[in-house]
Symmetry: C2
C-alpha cells in the first residue's frame, strides 16, 4: 500500500494535460493531498498550498506522487534529482511513468540508503488472461474519446458518483495510473503486454448479476496513431452496453502530434460503435462529454446544447454541469437512445 497523505508533484510543467495525474488526485481525493510541489518556472497550480519537501513532511505528507507525464513516460534527470531530494526529506515516491522507478539505479540506491519505498503503479499484476470475447452478464459503460487526455477519467468518475447518488450500484474500473491512485485498484492498461489488452479488461470488469453498472475508464483514441491499439483492445474487452464520447473542444491537434488533426465527433462515434459491435452488437451511445474548462460558461452551455441537438444525444461537461441527462438516457430503454448514430 502507498502511504498517505500525498504531496503532488508538478515540477517544471507548463502543460495542463501533462499534470493530469496530480490534478486528478487533487480533484477526486482532496482529503489525502496536503500540498503541491512546483519549481519557479512552473506556471500551473492545483490550488493546493505550495510546499517544499521538508515543509510537506512537517505537514504530514508521506509520499511524493510524481503525477506528471510526457509522451513515452521517461524519467529525466530533473525528475530523478527531485525524487532523491524528496526521499532525503523523508518521503516515499510513487510514479505512473512508463520508465520505472525500480529501473533507475540512482533512485534504487537512494531508497535503499534512506529506507524509503518506490511505488510503480504502472506495473500490471501477473496472471492476465488472453481475452475470449464471450458475452458476459452485467451492465458496462465505457468512455471513449477523440483524443488522449480529453476527460475520460473525469467523466467516468462523475458518472459513477451520479449513479450512486441515484441509488444504482456502480463501480469505477480504473485503467490508468491516476484512476488507479484514485480508486485504489485497477489495471494500468497501456503497460499490459499487447496480446493481453482485451483480456485485461475482461478480468478488470467480470460478469456481474446484481443489476449494477461497471463504469470503465477509457484510454487513448481510435484516431491516435500512437495508441489506437490500446483503445481497440479496450473496446473489445469491455463489451460495453453504452459508450460516452469525450472531447476537448479547444484541442487543436492530437495530443503530442502537432501534425495530426482531431477527428470529428460523428466520425469518432461511428468508428467506436463499429469496433465495439464485434463483442457487443447492442452497444449504443448514451451521451457526449465535453471538457469545457477553457471556455466561458455561457459559451460552454451553448456548445453542449448545440452538440446535443446535432447528435440526438445528451451532451454536458460532466464535471461542470453534471451528468443527469446522460444518466437519464443510460437508464432508459436502449431503443430510445442514440437514434441518430448509425455505423
Amino acid at each position: 500500500m502507498i502511504a498517505t497523505p500525498y504531496l503532488l508533484y508538478l515540477g517544471h510543467s507548463n502543460d495542463h494535460a501533462g499534470i493530469k495525474t496530480s490534478r486528478g488526485l487533487a480533484v477526486f481525493r482532496p482529503e489525502i493531498c496536503v500540498g503541491e510541489f512546483r519549481h519557479d518556472d512552473c506556471g500551473l497550480t492545483l490550488g493546493l498550498q505550495r510546499m517544499d519537501f521538508a515543509t510537506a513532511v512537517a505537514a504530514g505528507a508521506r509520499t511524493l506522487i510524481l503525477g506528471v507525464a510526457n509522451a513515452g513516460g521517461t524519467l529525466g534527470d530533473d525528475l530523478v534529482a527531485d525524487a532523491i531530494a524528496a526521499m532525503e526529506a523523508g518521503l516515499d515516491i510513487a510514479s505512473g511513468l512508463h520508465e520505472r522507478l525500480k529501473d533507475e539505479p540512482r533512485l534504487v540506491e537512494a531508497a535503499r540508503i534512506l529506507g524509503r519505498k518506490l511505488h510503480d503503479v504502472r506495473d500490471p499484476q501477473p496472471g492476465i488472461p488472453v481475452g475470449n470475447g464471450k458475452p458476459r452478464a452485467g451492465n458496462r459503460l465505457l468512455t471513449v474519446g477523440t483524443d488522449c487526455s480529453v476527460g475520460k477519467m473525469y467523466t467516468t468518475l462523475c458518472l459513477a458518483r451520479g449513479l450512486a447518488e441515484r441509488g444504482v450500484k456502480a463501480d469505477f474500473r480504473a485503467t490508468g495510473q491516476t484512476g488507479i491512485l484514485v480508486a485504489g485498484d485497477g489495471v494500468p492498461l497501456d503497460a499490459v503486454i499487447a496480446d493481453f489488452i482485451s483480456g485485461a479488461i475482461e478480468q478488470l470488469s467480470p460478469a456481474r448479476n446484481d443489476g449494477g453498472w461497471d463504469l470503465i475508464e477509457g484510454q487513448g483514441s481510435l484516431f491516435h496513431p500512437s495508441f489506437a491499439g490500446v483503445s481497440t483492445g479496450l473496446l473489445h474487452g469491455a463489451q460495453p452496453d453504452a459508450i460516452v464520447l469525450c472531447h476537448d473542444p479547444v484541442r487543436k491537434h492530437m495530443r503530442g502530434l502537432s501534425h495530426f488533426p482531431l477527428p470529428g465527433l460523428a466520425e469518432t462515434l461511428e468508428a467506436n460503435i463499429r469496433v465495439a459491435r464485434l463483442t457487443n452488437p447492442d452497444v449504443r451511445a448514451v451521451g457526449i462529454a465535453l471538457n469545457t474548462s477553457e471556455m466561458a460558461e455561457d459559451k460552454a452551455r451553448a456548445l453542449c446544447a448545440r452538440t446535443a441537438d446535432d447528435f440526438g444525444l445528451p451532451c454536458s461537461d460532466p464535471y461542470r454541469f453534471g451528468v443527469d441527462a446522460i444518466l437519464d438516457t443510460l437508464l432508459t430503454a436502449p431503443a430510445k437512445a442514440g437514434a441518430k448514430v448509425t455505423a
Copy 2:
C-alpha cells in the same frame, strides 16, 4: 545467437495451426532443420526425419525449437519435461511462447546444471519508442487477415522472394516468433507493451530511400476479439502503401474462439483500409492471398479466380500458385489497382 542446426518440436500436437513455428522453419529454412520430434499421439509431420533427442544430437542438432503454440502461450508440464530431456541429451532450447523459459525454475535449474542455453525469442529488445505517425520515406506492404494463422507470414515471405527475383530490393520485416527465427531479426509484436505497438513497427521498418520495399509480416485480425489491438497498432505503425488480405477459406470460426464467426473478405478489406488511412491516406489493396492447403488444386484455382473477379484484385495461394499477379499490381501505378475497394 541461437546455435544451428535445429530439431523442430511437434510434441503431442494434432493442431495444424498450432505448429506453425516449426512448420515455418521447415518450409523457409530447411537447410538448418535436421529433423522433427513428436510423440506417438502426434498426428502431424513436417516431412522431416522423426528423431528422438539423442539421435538428433548425433545428427548434429544444436537447438530444440519449441515451435508449438497454444492460446496464451503457456509452458505445460509436458513441454517442460520434454525440454529437460532435450537438454540432458545435449540440446539448447529456443521458444516463442509467451510464458518464458527463463521464468520456469525447472528449466532454468536444468540449463544451469547441464550448461545449456535458453532462448526466449519473444522478448522484445529494449528502447522501443512511442509511435508518432509521421509520414516516412519508402515503400511498405503489410499483410492483413480475416483471422490469426491464415498465412500472413508465408505470403509476406513469398512476396519478398518474388520481388527479389524481379530485381527489386525487398526486405522481410518479421513481427512474430517464427518470422524472427526465419529472418534472424524482427520484433515479437504481441509481446511488446501496449503503448508501444505502433512505435515498434515504425522502428522495425524505418524510412528508406533506395526505391525498395519493406514487406511487413501482419499479425492477428481487426476482427479477432483477443488480438485486434495488436493488428490496429501494426496498421498504424506500418503506414502501408499496399496491403494484401490473407484468408483461410476452410476456417470455420475465429482461431481459438468457437463462438466467433469469421468476417467476410469485403468487410475485412474495408476495415483495414479505413484503419490504415489514419497514417497513410494513399493505402491500397493489391491482392488477396488464400491458404488453400486443404483444397484440391482445381477447386483452389477456381476459388482464386472467382475471388479475383469478385474484388477486382489479383488472388492467389502464394505458396502454391505464386505471387506474380499480386506483384504486377503492386508495381503498377496506384490508381490502376483496387478500384473496386472503397471504404
